[in-house]
């Protein structure tokens, strides 16, 4: 794939709510229509769709729901989390557009976190987790990532203050983001009052529970130049995978916090022809403090093992030298896996973010984690 052949031309979302009253299909539809309108298009202009196996609705349902026109391309991503929404989907959209199969591709995702069974039901369906881990009480994403955090701290060192600086950084951005779910200020004292879930992770170290939908439109670069907003091109996209199934992912990898992020970043930077020092800001999939720290390192924004010191020094905060998660991320802004981070990156590059706008933002990395997969996408204002 070549850099700057496609652009993200439209973005949209529903409100992010702790408990919403819309179905996944309703949220998908509303977010999609908002993104299409933002692109200055009508549903009839959408000729490509990238669906997501975790959403449970295919492109036929989405196309019907938005009142779309003739569908010429459709695909579904099968990675989890942010890899799918802000890496794999972009890659498929670009492939389709470069091949001439589509001109405007719609990517959408919605999450109903309050569904029966809860957000961890997917883990309970894994035979090995149900058979071996759950009887030992080792269950749920916070437990898995807490064990990673303790191992990381053992290998690299991490004080409580350094750990707290990650959610405090994202909260500082959320305070100036009107749509963020959690906007109340959080200092160290407030952080320490956050309930402990699984040591060392407090509730403040975990992503939010959100009901919400997001969507974006990927268009051919030539078309983007005639559309309403400044062109935000896909300058690079890289994916990294390992082959550890979900059942063993959190316990049996040689290093449990080694995500394939270095691989995805290297591929994205190579395609984009840039390196970390060229970035103006980043959006990083912050399911948990520990996973955000590790990905910050994997993107090359600081040295391996220095993530805690990087955040504690304030580099990622408003006014810092490398703003990260400028709408509050998943921990304070809202959790629609990966895709709301990509939307924030697009709007920052358009210069639309008011009080939280990063001055002269021209290059943004978006990191998506999917457990056994990882994506890095480099967006550029042309």
């Amino acid at each position: 794939m070549k850099p700057n052949r496609v652009a993200v031309t439209g973005v949209g979302e529903t409100p992010f709510l702790r408990k919403g009253d819309q179905t996944v299909m309703q949220m998908l539809t509303r977010a999609s229509l908002a993104a299409i309108a933002d692109a200055g298009l009508t549903p009839a202009d959408i000729d490509g769709y990238v669906a997501n196996k975790y959403v449970g609705h295919g492109s036929d349902e989405i196309a019907h729901a938005i009142g779309g026109g003739e569908k010429r391309f459709c695909a579904a991503v099968d990675s989890a989390g942010g890899t799918a929404t802000c890496g794999q989907a972009i890659e498929l959209a670009q492939l389709a557009i470069e091949a001439g199969l589509a001109r405007h591709v719609l990517v959408s995702y919605a999450i109903w976190s309050n569904k029966p069974g809860g957000v961890y039901a997917v883990h309970a369906r894994e035979p090995q987790k149900a058979g071996i881990e759950m009887p030992a009480g080792f269950f749920g994403q916070p437990a898995y990532f807490a064990a990673m955090a303790n191992r990381y701290a053992h290998e690299f060192g991490m004080t409580e203050e350094e750990q707290a600086s990650v959610p405090m950084t994202y909260r500082a951005w959320a305070e100036i983001t009107p749509s963020a779910q959690r906007r109340e200020p959080m200092d160290l004292e407030a952080y320490r009052k956050s309930p402990m879930i699984a040591t060392p992770l407090r509730a403040a170290d975990c992503c939010l529970t959100t009901d919400g939908g997001c969507a974006y439109v990927v268009s051919a670069i030539e078309a983007a130049r005639d559309m309403p907003h400044p062109v935000v091109a896909v300058q690079g996209v890289g994916l990294g995978y390992n082959n550890y199934p979900q059942g063993v992912l959190f316990t049996q990898k040689p290093s449990t916090f080694e995500f394939p992020g270095r691989e995805s970043a290297a591929r994205a930077y190579a395609m984009a022809g840039c390196d970390p020092k060229d970035l103006d800001l980043a959006q990083i999939y912050d399911g948990f403090t520990i996973s955000a720290l590790v990905q910050t390192e994997m993107l090359g924004l600081c040295e391996e093992g220095e993530g805690p010191r990087f955040y504690a020094a304030g580099h990622a905060r408003p006014g810092g030298r490398m703003p990260i998660n400028t709408s509050g991320g998943h921990m304070s802004g809202g959790y629609v896996p990966g895709i709301n981070l990509l939307i924030e990156g697009v709007r920052q590059l358009r210069g639309q973010e008011g009080p939280r706008q990063v001055p002269n933002a021209r290059l943004c990395a978006v990191a998506g984690l999917g457990g056994n997969s990882h994506s890095t996408t480099i967006l550029a204002r042309s």
Binding site: G117, G118, Y120, A124, P127, Q128, A130, G131, I132, E133, M134, P135, A136, G137, F138, F139, G140, P142, A143, A146, A147, M148, A149, N150, R151, H154, P195, M196, I197, A198, T199, P200, L201, N243, P245, G247, V248, T251, Q252, P254, T256
Partner: protein
């Protein structure tokens, strides 16, 4: 410290060998019957070897903690508030480096859990079944 009590769901009957071992006071994991290579957790298909046969073999009762976390709010389905806190351990047996067996820390009053701490296997009763417990070695 508490003990998690959650029923064992064995959708894969192969996993019964783990609990047979616990009931017999042994920590057993699966190995390729032909090569002896540890294969853990036992998968539906052994990577690259669909004809491989797995068997349960005992591992050393002593080993170390790869990592741990103390569960303060249990996320297991149902109400488990009376069972917390407990400390989950990912135990690496000395005889199977790199393999991790989940269990809980036991006999550890006043001991701070730590990565690398030396541990010895000691099964623990949890309702109607056994789970893997690991006690610090002085």
């Amino acid at each position: 410290m508490g003990v998690p009590v959650y029923p064992v769901h064995l959708e894969d009957p192969l996993l019964q060998g783990f609990y047979d071992g616990l009931a017999a006071g042994e920590l057993r994991i699966t190995a390729d019957a032909e090569t002896g290579e540890w294969v853990w957790y036992p998968p539906e298909v052994v990577s690259g070897r669909p004809d491989a046969v797995l068997e349960w073999r005992p591992v050393s009762p002593e080993g170390q903690a790869y990592s741990f976390t103390t569960i303060v709010r249990s996320l297991l389905p149902g109400d488990h508030r009376d069972e917390v806190p407990f400390t989950c351990i990912l135990f690496e047996p000395d005889s199977a480096p790199g393999v991790r067996v989940p269990g809980i820390l036991v006999d550890a009053d006043g001991v701070e859990p730590a990565c690398g701490m030396r541990l010895r296997f000691r099964p623990v009763r949890a309702g109607d079944h056994w789970i893997a417990g690991f006690a610090p070695i002085d």
